[in-house]
Structure formats: C-alpha cells, structure tokens
C-alpha cells in the first residue's frame, strides 16, 4: 500500500479539497457526458434537485477514456466522497474492482448489478415501461404501422424495442413495427440529424407513431414527427413538453429519482439490488397537461389495467436481456 501515500499527499496538498472533511456525495457520469439530454442528464437533474432542496454540495466527474473508470471511482472514494454514484452498465467491472478496497464507502451503480456488501445496484424494468407506451402507440395508430428508433443495437436498447413491440401487438396483433438503429459508434447517441432522417424514412413507410430510445438523437426524431404531423414517444425523462400535441407520451425511466434517493440517504445507505419497475414507479408513461387531450379515457383505462396486471404478476413482459430473443418479432 505504499502507493497510496503519495496519492493522499497529492490530494490533500491541493487545497481545493479542504472542504472534503465531511462526506459529500459524488456522481460519476458515463462516457457520453453530462448534457446528453438523456441518461446522464437525468442523473445530473436528480443531483441538482438534491442540491437545491438540501443546500448540500456534491462532486461530479465526466470521463474522457475508459481507463478513467477505475481511476476516477478510486479517486472519488479516496477523496472521501460518500456515497459514490456511478452511472452505466459498463461500470459493473469498475465497481467489482474498486468497491472491495473501500468497505466504508457506499457505492451506487445504476443500470447493472454488482453483488458486493457496500454496493447498491439500481436496475430499471425498461421493458415494462416500453410495453405500456407500445400499447398507447398501437391505440393511437391509424395506418397499421408504428416504428422505433434506437441508438445502438445493444441489449439495453433491444429491451426497449422488444417491450414496445409486445405492448403494441397486445393491442393489435397484426400491427407492423419498423425498428431501426442509428449507428455503431457512441456518436449514435447524439446525432439528431440522423435521427430525423431515420424517422422520416419510417414515416414514409407508413409509420404514424415513432418511439425514440436514442439519447440526444431522439430530439431529431421528435422534431421530424412534429414536422410530418404524426405522433412520437419520448424517452427517459418526460419529453411531452418539447412538442405538445405531437409527443404522444414519454417512456419514463427515473434515473434522477435513483440519484436523488441515493444522495438523500447518504453514507451507509441500504445496499443490495433495487428494482425500479412499474411497481416501484421507476418506469412508466408520462401523462401531463401537454398530452392529456391525446390520450383518451379508454386508452388510459386499457394501459392502467395492463399496468395493474404487470404489477400483480398476471402479465409478464418478456425481457429481451434474459435470453436475447423477442417473442414479438
């Protein structure tokens, strides 16, 4: 452990860290950056809400390279941050490596599971929320075709697509579902122009409801849908207000709530797996003043019924991630 000495020395010599004597929470964003209008930004908003309500301060860090995952997680723990909230499924190996070295620090991992005594793993049932918006899409649909724009073709996004398709098929077994992905590089999460292009192509194939699960790329999808006067569905945060009257609803994934909860509970928070599903209100569909005239009473009743059935366990939405297959395709 000789290596830790210069490290701690460097940290304390900086002077900038003088206020760290009391544990302040920390947030480590995933590659993609803080303002991605999606996953990372939702976490940031949760942290900001905590800061405004409590007047506390927190440390945050954005990465530039994957080698910094372990590096930053370690530095945050060493600087005395507690709890350390780490975003993104790619950080599961990070915490497997770092968390055992800092048993007194609480870590929170969002979007993946790490089984360690000082790690809380928060996972979301994206397939369940997507199922509900899929039902709404099929009920609002008139052309017999709906569509989906994903970021990258990775299991997480495939789970969104699969839940969406299952919900839509539950309403209309004959419905056509077009699925496209934006790209294969991280740029796919922040390419609204390409998103708009894909959405327009899907609309020209007859789609009149487009669901975007593609981070910042989705903004282009929502815009293209409004321009073509069809419906779109937002993702992660409530995006209904972006294009009122065109955004049918949003698939909520409350990452902000998960961060807010972790910051509020503070050091020594309860660890283990936290399942943010429909029952826990971790996922859902957005209904507010911007889209209440788009969702009729029957539509709402049908969705609420399905939601109750899913919570009760009577209706099981298949999760693509369990076996890499989707019954709806």
């Amino acid at each position: 452990m000789t290596s830790l000495k210069p490290l701690l020395g460097a940290a304390s010599a900086l002077g900038l860290t003088a206020s760290l004597a009391h544990a302040e929470p920390a947030l480590m964003f995933d590659l993609g950056g803080k303002f991605d209008k999606s996953f990372n930004e939702a976490a940031y908003n949760g942290a900001e809400r905590w800061r405004e309500e409590t007047g506390g301060s927190y440390r945050e860090i954005e990465m530039q390279a994957a080698a910094q995952r372990v590096q930053f997680a370690r530095r945050l723990a060493e600087a005395g941050s507690n709890p350390v909230v780490v975003l993104g499924f790619q950080n599961a190996p990070t915490l497997e490596e770092v968390a055992p070295d800092y048993p007194d620090t609480s870590f929170v991992l969002i979007d993946a599971v790490v089984d360690l005594p000082n790690v809380r793993s928060v996972i979301f049932a994206e397939h369940e929320g997507s199922y509900l918006v899929g039902m709404l899409a099929a009920m609002a649909n008139e052309t017999g075709t709906i569509s989906f724009v994903g970021g990258m073709e990775i299991p997480l996004i495939a789970a969104f697509a699969c839940g969406y398709a299952q919900g839509a098929r539950a309403v209309n077994p004959d419905i056509e579902i077009i699925v496209n992905y934006t790209g294969d590089t991280p740029a796919a999460w922040n390419d609204p122009v390409r998103g708009g292009e894909i959405a327009r192509a899907q609309i020209s194939q007859g789609s009149d409801v487009v669901f975007a699960a593609a981070g910042g790329t989705g903004l282009g999808v929502l815009q293209a849908a409004e321009d073509a006067e069809v419906f779109s569905i937002g993702v992660d945060s409530n995006q209904n207000h972006l294009h009122p009257g065109s955004v049918l609803t949003s698939m909520l994934k409350l990452v902000d709530q998960a961060v807010y909860d972790a910051f509020t509970e503070g050091p020594g928070l309860e660890t283990g797996v936290v399942m943010m599903d429909l029952a826990a209100d971790g996922v859902g569909y957005a209904l507010d003043e911007h889209n209440e005239h788009l969702i009729s009473a029957e539509m709402q009743d049908a969705v609420e019924e399905a939601k109750a059935a899913i919570i009760a366990g009577d209706l099981i939405v298949h999760d693509y991630r369990t076996d890499s297959t989707c019954p709806a395709f």
């Binding site: 000789t2 290596s3 210069p6 490290l7 020395g9 460097a10 010599a13 900086l14 900038l16 860290t17 590659l31 950056g33 860090i61 954005e62 530039q64 390279a65 994957a66 080698a67 910094q68 372990v70 590096q71 930053f72 370690r74 530095r75 499924f89 790619q90 599961a92 190996p93 993946a112 990258m152 073709e153 990775i154 299991p155 997480l156 789970a159 294969d184 590089t185 991280p186 991630r321 369990t322 076996d323 890499s324």
Partner: protein, 365 residues
C-alpha cells in the same frame, strides 16, 4: 521552403515544437483565466497530477503507450507520404485479434499469451489496413477516404461481434467475457518490485510500454537502416524517381500499410489486454486520431513520436486531474489538447518562419 532550409537541424527538431507547445499553453492559460480559474493553479495541478507521483506517472505512461503505437503507425505511413487515418479502425481490429487469442486458447503462462496476442493484434490490424492499401496501390482509391471509411466499418463489425458472438448470454453489457488470469500482463508495479523500486499498483501501466519503446527502435532501424526503409523514404520523396530506380510503388504502398496497420493494432495489447482485460465497445476511444497529432508533432520520427506521446499522455492524465479537482469543464480540457494540436500541426509555419528569419539574420551578420 528556402527559409525552412536555413534552420539548423537541432532547432528544427527541438526549438520549433517547443515554441509551439509553449504558445499553445500560453493561450490555454488565457482561456483558463477568462473563465475565472487560476492558470497557475491549473498548471500546477496538471504537472503534479501527471508527474508528481508514481501514480500520475503510471497513468501518463499508460496513455503514452497507446499514443506511441498509433503515432508510429501514422509516422511510418507518412514516410511514404501515405496519410493513414485508419488507426482507429486498425486498433479496433487489433483488439479483436487480442480478444480471440486470449479467450479461445488456454495459455499456460502470460509470456506465451503476450507473444500470441502481439502477433494476433498485429495480424488483425495489418489485415484491416491491407484492403485500403490494396485499393490505393491497384485501384487508385485515395487512402485518406478509404481508411476513414474503414474506421466506421470496423466500429460496425466490432459492434456486431460483441453483441452477437462474444457477449456472454444474459449480460447486457456488449463486451467479451473477462480474459483468464493466465492472460494477465504484469504491471509496471510488479516488474519494478522485482528490482526493488516502489511503484503505484493502481495505474494500468504494463509490460507493453516496453514493447512500445522497442517498436520505436525497430521502426527507426527499419526506416533508416534497411533496404525496405530506404525504398519507403525514396517512394515518399518522389514516386516517379523511385519507380525509375526500380522500386515498385504498389508493393511499397501495400508493405507500408501492412506495417502501419500492424503498429496501430498493437495498441490493443496495451489497452485491451493490459487494462480492460476484456474487449469492450469503442475500446480505442480516439487514440487512433491522437496518433495523427502525435506523428505530426514528432516530425514522423520515432524519437519525436515517443516524446510527443509522453506530452499527450501528460495532457490526458493532467486533464483528468483538472477535471477531478477544479470546476474547469471537460470541454475546456479538450480545447487545451486541441490548441496543442493546432499549434504543432496546422500552425507549424507560423512558428517556423520567424525562427528561420532569426537564424537568417544571425547568419547574415
């Protein structure tokens, strides 16, 4: 060009790049001051963070190792005046080579795994560069265009392979499983401990640092001490003259691209085998492009590449420290890196001409 010739060689390789770097840092200091942070504090943080401890050194050298490989790749190609922008894709494929070697063959010892992984990385990287090389040599498709396009094809191919082939069932992370412990490379900490030098165990610096340094020597030897190197440089200086001298342009183009691709692929030994211990999506993260800047700055000479790679390693690690301990946003750190690239690469003549004039004045007196 007549002005450039009047600069003594020592000034060309030291004074010009140093002045460029100093100018870039001065401008960065103004920027940092403009957003209300102390430039002095920032510089201190960066230098201390990158060189102030064995921990900082470790990370600096880790990044530098990546940049040495990709920088050499660009430099070798540029000796033949071929602009290989495909380091990114070639390194990605190199990663695939490393992963296949480490995952599917049970190695008894890391040294054997290292040799095989090195060969795998070089082979896959070279194969990926062969196609643009062939297209340039035989079909005249411009190497800049094809290598850029091959970066995207490589990203798509890797995405497909990771999601559909290498990903363990049920895992939602599109990455390969972890390599077995026998394929774990000794870190700089382990190696220095043998001779009794304490070194931080945290950074992922590993034995591939020495492979990188060895490659610097090998590339220098190849370029300036072998027949092939002479042919490459002759071809780069003047294609018609080289052809007249009996050097086949097509053969040299393909050979150079193979060597360049192999060097870029070798980067994966450091990042994939040395650090991540598994193949992840987007494993290269722009090091292929940084290699272009490193080669430009290092004047396409292996020793220059080595120094420039250390500088960029410092910018990466120092930048990380800045991001950790100040409120200087990550974007500004990218701006600082970009300024260094701008001054050393694009604005080279802005520094070179006044220096040439200074020497001309002194000579005239």
């Amino acid at each position: 060009m007549s002005a450039a010739r009047r600069i003594p060689h020592w000034a060309d390789v030291t004074l010009v790049p140093l002045t460029s770097v100093v100018l870039a840092f001065l401008l960065s200091a103004v920027l940092i001051w403009a957003i209300g942070e102390s430039p002095w504090q920032a510089v201190k943080l960066m230098v201390e963070g990158a060189f102030g401890s064995s921990y900082g050194w470790g990370y600096t050298l880790y990044y530098a190792t990546n940049f040495i490989f990709t920088g050499l790749a660009v430099a070798v190609a540029f000796q033949a005046r071929l602009f290989n922008i495909g380091g990114e894709g070639q390194a990605l494929l190199g990663g695939l080579g490393v992963a296949l070697v480490c995952l599917y063959i049970p190695w008894p010892h890391w040294s054997l795994a290292l040799i095989a992984a090195t060969l795998g990385a070089a082979l896959f990287g070279a194969a990926w560069a062969l196609i643009p090389g062939y297209l340039q040599a035989r079909r005249g498709s411009h190497i800049v265009i094809t290598t850029i396009m091959f970066n995207f094809i490589a990203a798509s191919l890797l995405g497909y392979v990771l999601v559909n082939v290498l990903r363990p069932q049920g895992s939602q992370d599109p990455s390969s499983p972890r390599f077995p412990p026998e394929a774990h490379l000794p870190s700089l900490h382990d190696m220095l401990a043998v001779v009794g030098i304490p070194f931080s165990r945290v950074p992922p610096t590993n034995i591939s640092l020495f492979i990188a340094v060895a490659m610097c020597f090998a590339v220098w030897f190849m370029l300036w001490r072998t027949r092939l190197g002479y042919q490459i440089r002759a071809f780069g200086e003047s294609e018609p003259a080289a052809e007249y001298a009996g050097i086949s342009p097509a053969r040299i183009t393909i050979y150079v691209m193979l060597i360049s691709g192999a060097l870029a692929g070798l980067m994966a030994v450091n990042s994939v085998m040395g650090e991540q211990q598994r193949l992840v999506l987007n494993a290269v993260e722009g090091a292929g492009f940084i290699g272009i800047a490193v080669a430009l700055m290092g004047r396409n000479h292996p020793f220059g590449v080595f120094l420039a790679a250390i500088l960029f390693g410092f910018l990466y690690q120092g930048g990380a420290e800045l991001a950790l301990w100040t409120s200087i946003p990550r974007e500004l750190i990218v701006v600082i890196q970009a300024l260094v690239i701008l001054f050393t690469g694009a604005l080279d003549n802005m520094v070179r001409m006044p220096i040439a004039r200074l020497f001309a004045l002194r000579g005239a007196r």
